[in-house]
């Protein structure tokens, strides 16, 4: 069983009203895209964010990744909108 930490930033943090949470993943959830699908099942706000209606970037352990990236036990996964610094 995999335990991961999930962080949310900016518009996404405000929408879901979480900044961080610990999640125990079901055995079949082992990629970023599978995690997004799991989160989208939580309700309307989550479905809007995580079912591809909006662009949501992902990082694992501080590295930008694409949706097919595999998850490992202990990973820190972050979801955020496209960046707007500078």
């Amino acid at each position: 069983m995999m335990n991961i930490k999930v962080l949310y930033f900016a518009r996404i943090k405000e929408s879901v009203n979480y900044s961080t949470e610990d999640i125990v993943l079901p055995a079949d959830v082992n990629t970023v895209v599978a995690l997004k699908t799991l989160l989208a099942e939580r309700g309307e706000v989550w479905a809007d964010l995580f079912s591809d209606k909006q662009v949501v970037r992902a990082a694992i352990n501080h590295e930008l990744v694409d949706d097919m990236m595999a998850l490992k036990d202990g990973d820190e996964v972050a979801f955020f909108p496209p960046v707007t610094g500078g």
Binding site: F9, A59, L64, P81, P82, V83, T84, G85, G86
Partner: protein, 159 residues
């Protein structure tokens, strides 16, 4: 190579003097300073608040500097980026690059800014008369970064 993410303002003159005087093989110093505008998308902006992802921010900026140094023969680079709540005319970001000759420093400085705009985890929220709103990412910033993808030492659009 240096990265600083901070709420405090910075002294461009002092930062540039320190970089310029660091080595006698430096012949060029190029820098970019970004500041808060009072208008965006047709609305008056009273304040701009920058959120970031502590840890990943520093790591992504460091990797952008490493990438710039691998592409061009530069001596040193500096990125200072502010977070927190800022007002029009406040400085947001400083990028500075030193090299023996100007060409390398010009290109590396622009490259660092273009990558920072699309890869470093900062998000801007602006306050207007209608309330607060998150700033949307711009396609033109992706295009600016994309110019460098196939280029060894110059934007594709320069050829």
């Amino acid at each position: 190579m240096t990265v600083r993410v901070q709420t405090e303002d910075f002294d461009v003159g002092a930062e540039l003097a320190a970089m310029r005087l660091a080595s006698k093989d430096i012949g060029a110093l190029v820098n970019f300073v970004g500041q808060v505008r009072d208008m965006n998308d047709g609305d008056v902006v009273s304040t701009l608040t920058l959120e970031h992802y502590p840890g990943m921010t520093e790591r992504s900026l460091e990797s952008i500097e490493v990438e710039a140094k691998s592409r061009w023969n530069i001596v040193d680079s500096l990125i200072i980026h502010r977070v927190g709540t800022l007002q029009p005319l406040d400085q947001i970001v400083l990028v500075a690059v030193t090299s023996a000759h100007r060409g390398e420093a010009f290109k590396a400085c622009e490259f660092i800014m273009d990558y920072l705009k699309t890869r470093a985890p900062f998000w801007k929220k602006e306050a207007t008369a209608d309330g607060e709103r998150w700033v949307e990412a711009k396609i033109s910033d992706d295009d600016a970064q994309g110019r460098w993808a196939n280029a060894i030492d110059k934007p594709v659009s320069d050829k």
